[in-house]
Each structure stands twice: as C-alpha cells, then as structure tokens.
Subunit: 479 residues, 2 copies
C-alpha cells in the first residue's frame, strides 16, 4: 500500500477540535443545534463557538472570530449567511485551519453569480491546501467519537457498520428514525452538498479503507469527480464491501430539480449510468426505502450463498404473495429435503402436506405456536436445500411477547448455521416496536412486507453473484 | 333496476342471528375468538355457540347441535375439523338455515379427495338453495352491525368506505393494524376462500350496489366465476366506484402455491389478465402495501382532476427524489403561477427563487415554520396550475405537535378547494403516531415515502382518466 498514512478526509471525521462559525444561543434557530448536539453527545474535543455578539454559548466560551481562538483549529464548520461566507473563508486561510465544512447554501445551486463566489472560495482554500466539504452540506457524523453536525436536535447516535455518503441533508430529519425506529447503526456519514472540493470519489476512497465501515451507502445527484475513476473505485471496493447507490435526478424534471438544489449537472443519461453502475458491482436502490433497507440487509445479514428461500406465512394467501415477490426478485423457492418435509409434517394439519411456502396459520390451528416455530427453525437450519428464510409475524408478534426472550434463542439455531433470516411484519404498535427492537438488536432485520424482504435478499444475492464472478474472472488484483 | 330487493349475500352481512359450530371456552384455541369477538364487539343479533361438550360459552347458552337451537337460524359459521364438516352441512340442510360460512380448511386445496367432499357439500346445499362462503374462509365482517368473524382477538372495528374481497385470511392478522395504525375504516369484508359457491362475481355485484361501500378492494388468486362477466362487472362498477385489485399467483411458483392454498387454478396468463384488468378500468396494485395504500387513497382523497403536482420537501435532495417518483408515476411537476411564485418568495431564502419542488428546509432557516407552511398551503390552494400537493414532514412533525391543532385548520384551506393533499413522513414514534392519527382522522393520508405518495396519486389519476374516457366514449349505459 502506497497510501499516505492519513487521508485528507480524516480531519473531517477525527478532528481534535471544532470551531462553529455562526453559533447561537437562540434555541429557535437551526444553528443552535450545531453546538448543542456536539455538547450533548459529548464530543470529546474542544468546541469553539464563534459569534461576535456572545461571550458564552451553552457554557462554552464564545469567540468573536476564528482568529481570536488561542489554539490551532482543526475543523471549521461555518453556517453564516451566504454573503458572509467569503469572509469566513478568508479567516480560515489566515488561521490556517485544516478543514472547512460549509453548511451555508446560496452558491453554485443558485446560478452563475453563486458559482463565481464558490469558485473563488475554492481557489483561496486550495492555494493553502485547505480541504473543504460543501457548500450546502450538513456534515459530518462519526459515531466513534460522538461527532455530529446537524440542524435540529440529535438526541443519540448509534454505532454500526454502515457509512453513508449523501449529496443532501435529507438524512438529517430522519436521523432519529434511523437510530431509534429503523434500528440501524452508522459508522460515518458525509453530506457533500455542492461538492466544490471534496467529492464522492474522495469520500468513497476514504470509506473503502476505513476499518469501521462494513457497508457503504451512497446517494448521488451528480458525479462531480472523475466518472471512470468512480466506477473503478466501486468495482475495487465491492470486492471487500458492498456499495449501495441511490441516484436521483433520473427523470428530466428530477434532473432539473437537482441542478437547482446542488448545482449538479449530470452528464450521462440515467440509462447509461445504470449500466455503468451495474458493471461496477454496485447495488442500485430504486427508492429511499430500498436504500435504507439494503443498507440494513448488508449490515445485518451474513453472506447469502445461494438464492433458495424458505417462506413461512401466517396465511396461505400471504404465502402466495411472498412467493410471487421472491420469484420476481430472482430468488428460487427452495425444494425442501425429505427430512424437512418429515419434520414439518409433525406440525402440519392432519390433512396437510408441508410445502414451501409453509402455512404457519393453519399449523397453529392444530399445534402450539412455539412448537411450530421451533420445528420450522430447526428443520430449515439443517436443510441443505435452503439458503435463506423469510417468516411473517403479525398479531402473533404480540402474543409472542410473553415468551419473547426465548424467540431470539430459537433464532440462534439459524445463526449458528450462518443462514440469513428475516421477518416481515407490518404492525408497529408499542408492543410490536419492542419486539422489532429485540429482533433487530439480534441482527434479524424486520421489514414491513414480504416485498421489501424479498428485495433485500435479492440485493444480497446479486452482490454474492457479482463477488463470485469478480473473483473468478479477475482473481485478486493489485490496485 | 330489476334486482330483487334482497341480494343473497345480504344474509352473510346482515343476519339476524349466528350459530357458531365448533365454539369453545378454551382461550388457547383459535375458535375461542369466533364467539368472543361477536360478544365483545356487541353484535346485536342472537349468538348460538354449538358444542356438544359445553352448556355455556362466554355467558351464552351452548347447544349440542344446530338442530337443538329453538329458533330459525340465519347464518351458520362452522369451524370444526374437515372430517366433521360434512356432518355439519347435513345439519344445516335439516335445519334449513339461510347461509353457511365454512371456516375449516382441508378441501379442494388438498387435492382430489378434498375436492370430492367439497363438491358433495356444495351439491347438498345447492339442492336446498342454501348459499355458502368458503371453505377455508374467515368471513364476514360488517362494521355497521359489529359483525366480525376472525381468529385472534379483534378489539375494535372502524367504519369507513372501503369494502374488501379476499381469497385468504391474510387480512386477519393485520386487522388491528388496518384500524389502529393505518387508520383505515372498513364497511364490509368477505374472505371467499375456496369459492365453492359464492365467488368474486357475486360479491362484487353485491358491493357495487351497497350504498355504504365507496371503494372496492379485491384480492384474487383465481377467477372462480365467469371471467368475462367479472371484467364487465368491474367496467360497470368503476363508473361509480373505484375497484382496486391485487392478483397473486402471478409467477409460476406463486401460482403453484395458490393452487395448494385455495385449490385455485388460473386459466389465463398473468399478462393476459393484466390487460383485461386494465381495460376494465380496475386499478391494479403490485403488492400488499400498494393495495392498502390505494384503498386508503380512494377513500380519503377527493377526486383528482389533473396530474399537476406541487411538491414540498424538507431538503433539496428529498425534493429531487420525490420529483423523480412523480414523473415515473405519470404525474407532472406543476408550473406554479406567477402569483404563487410571488407569494412563496416572501418565505424563501434571500438568494432563492421559489421552485417546484419547494425546499421547506432552506426556507425554515430564514422564516418561521408556521409562516412558511401557511403561505405554501394558501398559495397552492389558489393556484389554478396545481391539481394536488405532496408535502414532507419528519422531525418537524414532532415540533409541530405544539401547534398541531392549528395544522388541520391550515389544511382546511386546501380541502375547501377540493385539492387532494398528502404528507409523507417515515417516522412513527409515539408523538408522530399521534400526529399521523390526527391527520388521517382529517382524511389526509400519510405515507412513509414520496414513492408511496406518488403511486397513490398516480392510481387516483389513472382512475380519473379512465372514468372520463368511459363517459366520453360510451355515455351512461343501461346494464
């Protein structure tokens, strides 16, 4: 490896201290939360609020300007109005800070006047070797050191294996949902905004080498860096880690909206981009629900070695619908081994021959629920014809709460065999939320429909095929 | 109208009394809930539990057999094992009951032996003019008289404009979710199971004429009745009421699963069925989430007269994604009138020109949230170029709770103009659930993504086009 020891993006994720320009005491202002979140989440480095009209903000000494800070400054986060931003950049240059995040908007996304100012800021910083994220960016998050820049209160962070690259603050209002309801943990997150300096290629390069990052999930409105380099980098990265991509601005109206959002111009058509992405081995998500679903799937599931799925539903009708989705998504309905059929016979109705999809509902009319589930899990864990399992819970989720502590132990049977297992269940009443949280804290993802579960497995399977293809056709290449 | 005054299905939805054969005192058994739900929900007619081993069940006198009931019996619900069902049918014939719901499974869905018994049951009942729903059916529900047959506890019903036809009990474990979380009200529901006698044509015919049914949502695994008649009936019905259809068993494996579920055989290929359905004016849902989403959309929204949509999101990036979905679903991003642009200018950032999608997030950095929303709603309500509106709430949903009572009043501006309006918002924490419930009780549907919102509007728009096309090309025809 010829890589320098410290990547230039490291200063954004692991700064020793942070200065927040535009900090405020006024809790009605969004900027209030920039400092408040760092304090509340206990970011361990020094925090320097900069505001000429305050002496103290949230118990921290406030500084009238960057220059008045006595120490060297690693990272500046600036969130003053667009017209005042150039002055801050000049201060950054004088102070010789190491990195700048420009939160403020009103630059290249508003047209040529804004682009001119943005170009000038970039020139000033580049001359001094100061790297910048943004403008129009809410960045970064690093859960390993409780660093989180965001508008609105961030009450908690949750560590996990997924790192995100965004080209928008769209994650910000969903952050609490990601951690608390979706039960997904994050390692690092960067919103690149207008990508004046640091772009998706830089960030992907950094995350590809980041040992805490197991899965990379990337939102793109445009490709600001070298497109060929990006695709090559994705191809190299996917040998080790899955890369999930959502690309928006794919329709003409969407592309127009993107250009007035981050000043992004997309060269290639969406169809061309789609082919390139597919060839690179990235897993493309069609929508935001899929984007997060896939990220969770790659983080939670063990690798999926085949596409033969076993399905168990609470009704025959739901099993049929699940089967349709599995087939449409390229999965194959497993032909259960004779041993499995025998075992399931014991928990089937007197007149029933066990089949895949398995009808849990009818079995539960004749046998105790916990027995049905136990036999189902054990036989599926042992069946060499079954690669993965999807099971529906609904109302019984609630009933199960009585014996819920046993349920994860049932599932450990499957985990020992390394078989990916998922549950679908639409309800999220308070008891069901509790169940979902327990399951997901055991790394069993819970989707709201068989459709979403099948799509998640399909993404996993496509990644597995691609990885095997890559290792077969190319072997392990040096980069 | 040459119709007889009372349709033969009326006895299933409006019986004066119900006998439940296979009733039990044992709360561990699913059958327990058949009687318990009728009692708890306060079904106003007499309930006759039938069980030779009990004198009393849930405070009701129990009868050893149907024949021992002193009165005439309107509706029999039988849920005894398959082998004992023929005996119950013979009792029904002797007792000359008016209708039978066969809950038990184990008939045509298990193969030729089961089909033989089913055919014989049908012959016996038909000879006496007794109509039957099932076997393998959890039916019916009628919220207007608190009639609900279901396994598992049903704690509440919620009245509404949607009537469902199912070919599975798949709704049953979701019932609480439908009422309590999805906030959808139901008028009537029938699960037709194996469709030995009463089929989808009969049921659609009944619901088409039912004044309490505003929307019909139909789940099919097979067409048991006359296919041409079904399509003609859908075509006639959709002139007055939307018909949403989910057809499963559309892949080979799915079709196989369907045949072992309800003994269903689908003649035409899915592609042929799809074309026929489209020509009939039905709105086809791809998955269960869509099925329920569309049902809610048709129940909640006023008619959609055009496809020009205004979008407001909490971030530029989310607005781009929403725009993509709208375009992909055949909606058109509205070109706002100059008056609207002027009004929105007042709540935009100093450097921003208001556009569609509108960036709420950036506006809220410069203006108070309630002011931004008020101006947005008022200008959209008045803009003749805007047919419908989709708006994102997330975290601000929580913030809004402070002033939530004002929010619906803001929205009444839109309702007065008859413009369909929806919100998308992924979170469902307790505060957000409260907000969603308030919105939906005001008939503002809340979807978890812009994708689902766009698809719902698209379904509405397709229905509108189809209706206009039908009235233009055919005029109002006599049937």
């Amino acid at each position: 490896m010829e890589k320098a020891k410290q990547h230039f993006l490291d200063i954004f994720f692991n700064p020793n201290n942070i200065a927040v320009v535009g900090a405020t005491k006024n809790p009605q202002k969004m900027n209030f939360h920039l400092v408040r979140n760092l304090v509340n989440l206990k970011f361990p480095g020094r925090i320097y609020p900069v505001n000429p009209n305050a002496d103290e903000i949230l118990g921290l000494k406030a500084y009238p300007s960057l220059e008045s800070i006595e120490d060297d400054v690693d990272l500046v986060v600036t969130a003053v109005p667009a017209v005042a931003t150039m002055g801050v950049i000049e201060d950054c240059v004088r102070k010789a800070v190491k990195g700048v995040v420009i939160v403020s908007g009103g630059f290249s996304e508003i047209g040529w006047e804004g682009r001119g100012v943005q170009d000038e800021m970039h020139r000033l910083l580049r001359e001094r070797g100061i790297r910048a994220v943004g403008p129009n960016s809410l960045s970064p998050i690093n859960t390993s050191n409780n660093l989180a820049i965001g508008f609105g209160p961030i009450e908690r962070l949750k560590r996990g294996g997924v790192s995100f690259i965004f080209q928008s603050g769209l994650y910000n209002p969903r952050l609490d949902w990601i951690f608390s309801e979706f039960n997904l943990g994050i390692s690092k997150l960067a919103d690149l905004g207008n990508k004046m300096d640091i772009n998706e290629v830089d960030t992907l390069e950094y995350l590809a080498e980041d040992p805490d990052t197991k899965v990379i999930a990337m939102h793109l409105e445009s490709v600001a860096g070298d497109g060929k380099r990006l695709m090559q980098l994705i191809e190299d990265t996917t040998r080790e880690k899955p890369v999930v991509v959502i690309k928006s601005g794919r329709t003409p109206a969407g592309a127009e909206a993107a250009s007035s959002h981050t000043g992004a111009m997309m060269g290639a058509s969406d169809a061309v981009f789609d082919v390139m992405l597919r060839q690179s081995g990235a897993i493309r998500a069609q929508g935001l629900e899929e984007f997060f679903d896939f990220a969770k799937a790659f983080d939670f599931f063990p690798p999926l070695r085949g596409n033969r799925i076993a399905v168990a539903a609470l009704s025959g009708g739901e099993g049929v619908i699940a089967t349709d989705w599995c087939c449409r998504e390229g999965l194959s309905i497993a032909k259960m081994s004779p041993e499995t059929v025998d075992k399931l016979q014991a928990v089937s109705p007197p007149w029933g021959i066990p089949s895949n999809p398995f009808d849990l509902g009818v079995s539960m009319q004749f046998h105790p629920m916990d027995e049905v589930l136990k036999v189902f899990f054990e036989s599926m864990a042992d069946d060499p014809n079954v690669d993965c399992i999807a099971l529906q819970l609904e109302m019984i989720g609630t009933l199960l709460l009585a014996g819920i502590d046993e349920f994860p132990s049932l599932l450990s049977i499957l985990r020992e065999k390394g078989k990916p297992f998922t549950i679908w269940m639409v309800g999220r009443n308070p008891q069901e939320r509790e169940l979902v949280e327990k399951l997901e804290s055991n790394h069993i993802p819970v989707y709201t429909s068989s459709e979403r579960a099948a799509k998640a497995f399909s993404a996993l399977y496509r990644y597995n095929i691609m990885q095997r293809g890559a290792s077969k056709s190319k072997g392990k290449q040096m980069r």
